[in-house]
């Protein structure tokens, strides 16, 4: 993955930039020492690193505005950052950029149960939003596995999902409003505690724009009453086709589980070895969770059992209580940890039409043989969002490149069967160069035109999302203006 070369004219202005930033921020909020800027050299895509020119940690929307105004005037690129858990390199800096971190902006501004929303500063972590309301019986629904660490800022920028989005939707479906600062320092409010916007749905395009349209400092989020209870069921199948058909029949029958997770044999084996959750050894395993009162749960599980029976499961276990539920989820939740024990791994994130599941798994198996790298599949089966984990050895020269080539082939396969490159992690730098496989040049042009409007100088997170060749002319304008 290439990044544009830093602009020496910008790097040369570092001293002036730091001086001006410290005029508007407390000294502790401007990080420019080379050793300290290293803390911001990467996100969770750790294969790519580059310390920024400086990092700033503002505490208010006004400070964010002041920083952006200065960077805008000086022509310095800005990379917004939440908690740095992006798996796509979304928060990766360049050597001529300023990291703008919102981590210090983590306050709850307003909690309103009658109107079912919470307003927070976006540096607040995902889990602590639920933490602020759960004692009163409410929760914030989108639940990425990284929810302990990731911030609402990054969730909005990536339109993050979670295990329960089959029922509750992803970030964009739970976001009601934002306060956002444009690259020139202009502060704007979009949406709020009422539903839907006056005029164009700007909120809809901001969510998922990967920090390229503005810096989001506050968010109004929908909160929901916690369900009375939830229980999972686990079932094993001796073919992927059987598991896939079972998922499809459950959905068709009108049961709407909150989660349907799928694991294939390599994944089951690795998780079992790691977590000893007592999983059956079989080709495919489903974990399905339903919600409601005890009677409602029993009823839904009885329907699911009846449907599953037609697909000859080799194992079927209902959780009778919280402890059994914990054991069923244990293996799935330790999937990434389990892989990490065995090997270095790369986590992909393509989405496919649910009906293409058996074919895609078969072809991933063929590719795995071709590349000589192992792969394990975990999968949000209800919505087709796949997470193939490719195993490789980072210390062996050439393996990262081989792994990336394998990953690219899998993502192209997702597109070929009617799906897409990324279901929840975002494009960042990781999938940037594959965008041409999903979109025609005119499709990318339409998206870049949106950035032209919000950030005409292309200073906000400029080297992401769009293939460098496609965005080059626009980024060149900025450099020419130096």
């Amino acid at each position: 993955m290439e990044m544009p070369a830093p602009n020496p004219a910008i790097v040369a202005k570092k001293a002036e930039l730091v001086r001006r930033l410290t005029e508007v921020l407390p000294e502790t909020a401007v990080i420019h020492d080379e050793a300290e800027t290293r803390a911001y050299e990467c996100d969770a895509l750790t294969a790519y690193r580059c310390p920024p020119l400086a990092a700033v940690l503002p505490s208010t929307t006004q400070e964010v505005s002041d920083v952006l105004r200065i960077c805008h005037q000086m022509g310095v690129p800005v990379v917004p950052r939440g908690s740095g858990t992006s798996l796509a390199g979304g928060a990766l800096p360049t050597a001529d950029s300023v990291i703008l971190g919102v981590a210090r902006m983590n306050a709850v501004l307003e909690t309103d149960y009658d109107n079912r929303f919470i307003r927070v500063q976006t540096g607040r972590t995902n889990l602590s939003v639920t933490g602020a309301v759960e004692a009163d019986g409410f929760f914030y629904a989108p639940d990425p596995s990284s929810q302990l660490a990731c911030a609402i800022a990054g969730n909005i920028a990536m339109n993050s999902g979670g295990a329960h989005c089959l029922k509750y939707g992803v970030t964009t479906n739970n976001l009601m409003g934002v306060t956002m600062v444009l690259m020139d320092g202009t502060i704007t409010e979009i949406g709020g505690a009422h539903l839907d916007a006056a005029g164009l749905d700007l909120l809809g395009v901001i969510c998922g724009s990967e920090g390229q349209l503005g810096v989001v400092t506050e968010a109004t989020l929908r909160i929901l009453a916690k369900p009375e209870g939830a229980l999972p069921v686990l079932m094993g199948f001796d073919t992927n086709e059987g598991a896939g058909a079972c998922v499809s029949d459950i959905i068709k029958a009108g049961v709407l589980p909150v989660a349907i997770e799928f694991m294939d044999r390599p994944c089951i084996e690795a998780c079992e070895a790691f977590a000893k959750a007592g999983y059956p050894m079989c080709e495919a395993l489903l974990i399905i969770e339903v919600e409601g009162s005890p009677e409602e749960i029993r009823h839904q599980l009885s329907l699911i059992k009846e449907i599953a029976a037609a697909h000859n499961p080799v194992d079927y276990r209902e959780a009778a209580d919280a402890d059994e539920a914990y054991r069923i989820w244990l293996g799935r939740k330790s999937a990434f940890g389990a892989m990490g024990q065995i090997n270095d791994y790369m986590c992909l994130d393509g989405t496919i039409p649910v009906s293409a599941l058996p074919e895609v798994l078969r072809r991933i198996g063929e590719l795995s043989k071709h590349y000589g790298l192992g792969v394990a599949n975990v999968f949000h089966a209800g919505d087709g969002n796949m997470h193939p984990l490719i195993l490789y050895n980072a210390n062996q020269p050439g393996q990262l490149e081989l792994c990336e080539a394998f990953g690219a082939d899998i993502l192209r396969l997702c597109v070929e069967v009617g799906g897409c490159l990324t279901g929840e992690h975002g494009v960042g730098i990781e999938k940037r160069d594959l965008m041409v496989d999903q979109f025609a040049p005119v499709d990318l042009e339409a998206q870049m035109a949106v950035k032209d409007v919000f950030d005409p100088a292309w200073l906000l997170n400029p080297a992401k999302v769009f293939p460098l060749a496609s965005s080059e002319a626009r980024r060149a304008v900025k450099i020419a203006a130096e």
Binding site: N159, G192, H194, G254, S355, G382, E424
Partner: protein
């Protein structure tokens, strides 16, 4: 003009620069005199429907009724519950799925299931230069590139002509029930609806009719699901709402459906003279806004957050709103149909229009388009 294919449409647009009014079923009302009409009815038909994947891909000019019929045959539906406002708009013709998408039309279930835009997975459209563009796709989770799907839904055709939309559909529930509280004033009604919406019983509709079918105020709370589930939840809600007033429960499916159709389609508004407004506010602000309207006829949906009101012609409803929110003039003239955006957002919107429709052709006069 009535193109039969997307390519033909693209050619038509590329070759002109005079204003153009996009028309689906034409049921939403006026066409400015200056604009030629572009009919979308030639772009019709279902391109793909996979019930097991809850996915529908359909051409924009397809009648909404046809879409709903095809889904119903598989026991599925558009969960955002688009309304049929022909009665109250005095229109005939067949509303189209493309217009529903372009207007982001959503009914009572919007508070629980989401708006039309939340169910839109992908679009194909022709922009103001005649370029065919696609965004999103047909899969449920997709964050690949910017979400122009949301931008197009709700743009009312001012950014381009939708040619095809993909949507997530949902199963129709086995049963539905409605819990009704009699005789509440609007503020008590909103409190009751907030209590219901803040409960774990997954309420899928919460509306208040100051004058119900029998002439008295009624507050309605809907639940949907399996039969036993609906019985359980209506029972729980009956207990929860007992402190607000006399509570009744209806679980006869056809009666519940008819009651919510009455709310959704504004059946009680048919024949009432005056301007028709649609106002979105924070639910707890609803009663005060309603009181300030001097409405001839009104109802609250979305737990109090959506007010539909008929007011004497020419009333400046926006001047009477002192809270955050927005008001749309759905029937009537003499005022802008859409709520003015803040100056910064209006400038962003104008910038987007200049990019998507540089010749300023689409739907002149509507929503900031000129």
């Amino acid at each position: 003009m009535r193109p039969e294919t997307e390519a033909e449409l693209a050619g038509l647009i590329a070759g002109r620069d005079a204003p153009l009014w996009i028309r689906g079923g034409g049921t939403a009302g006026v066409v400015p005199d200056a604009a030629d009409v572009l009919e979308t009815s030639g772009l019709a038909g279902i391109s793909l429907y996979e019930p097991g994947a809850l996915t529908l891909v359909v051409k924009a000019g397809t009648p909404l009724a046809e879409v709903e019929g095809v889904l119903a045959a598989e026991g599925q539906r558009l969960a955002f519950e688009p309304a049929d406002l022909r009665g109250v708009l005095g229109a005939s013709g067949e509303p189209t799925i493309g217009a529903v998408a372009a207007m982001n039309v959503s009914g009572p279930r919007r508070i629980q299931a989401g708006a039309c835009r939340d169910f839109m997975l992908g679009v194909r459209y022709v922009d103001g230069l005649g370029t065919i563009v696609k965004n999103g796709g047909r899969v449920m989770k997709n964050v690949t590139g910017y979400d122009l799907v949301k931008l197009m839904s709700g743009a009312c055709g001012t950014l381009g002509v939708l040619t095809e939309v993909s949507m997530k559909v949902l199963p129709m529930p086995e049963a539905q029930g409605c819990v009704m509280v009699d005789g509440l004033a609007p503020d008590a009604a909103v409190q009751a609806m907030s209590a219901a919406l803040g409960s774990p019983y997954d309420v899928t509709g919460a509306a208040h009719l100051p004058v119900g079918v029998d002439g008295a105020p009624v507050t309605m709370v809907r639940v949907e699901g399996f039969g036993a589930q609906v019985d359980y939840r209506t029972g729980k809600l009956r207990d929860l709402l007992g402190r607000f007033g006399n509570v009744r429960v209806e679980t006869e499916a056809e009666r519940v459906a008819a009651g919510w159709r009455y709310v959704r389609d504004l059946e009680g508004f048919v024949g009432v003279e005056g301007d028709l407004w649609r106002i979105s506010v924070k639910p707890s602000d609803g009663p005060a806004v309603l009181a300030g309207l001097n409405a001839v006829k009104a109802q609250m949906d979305w737990g109090g957050g959506l007010i539909w009101a008929v007011v004497p012609a020419g009333t400046d409803v926006r001047a009477r709103m002192s809270v955050a929110g927005h008001a749309t003039l759905v029937r009537g003239t003499g005022q802008p149909r859409f709520h003015p955006e803040t100056p910064v957002n209006a400038q962003l919107a104008a910038g987007l229009r200049a990019k998507f429709d540089p010749k300023g052709m689409f739907n002149p006069g509507l929503m900031g388009a000129n």
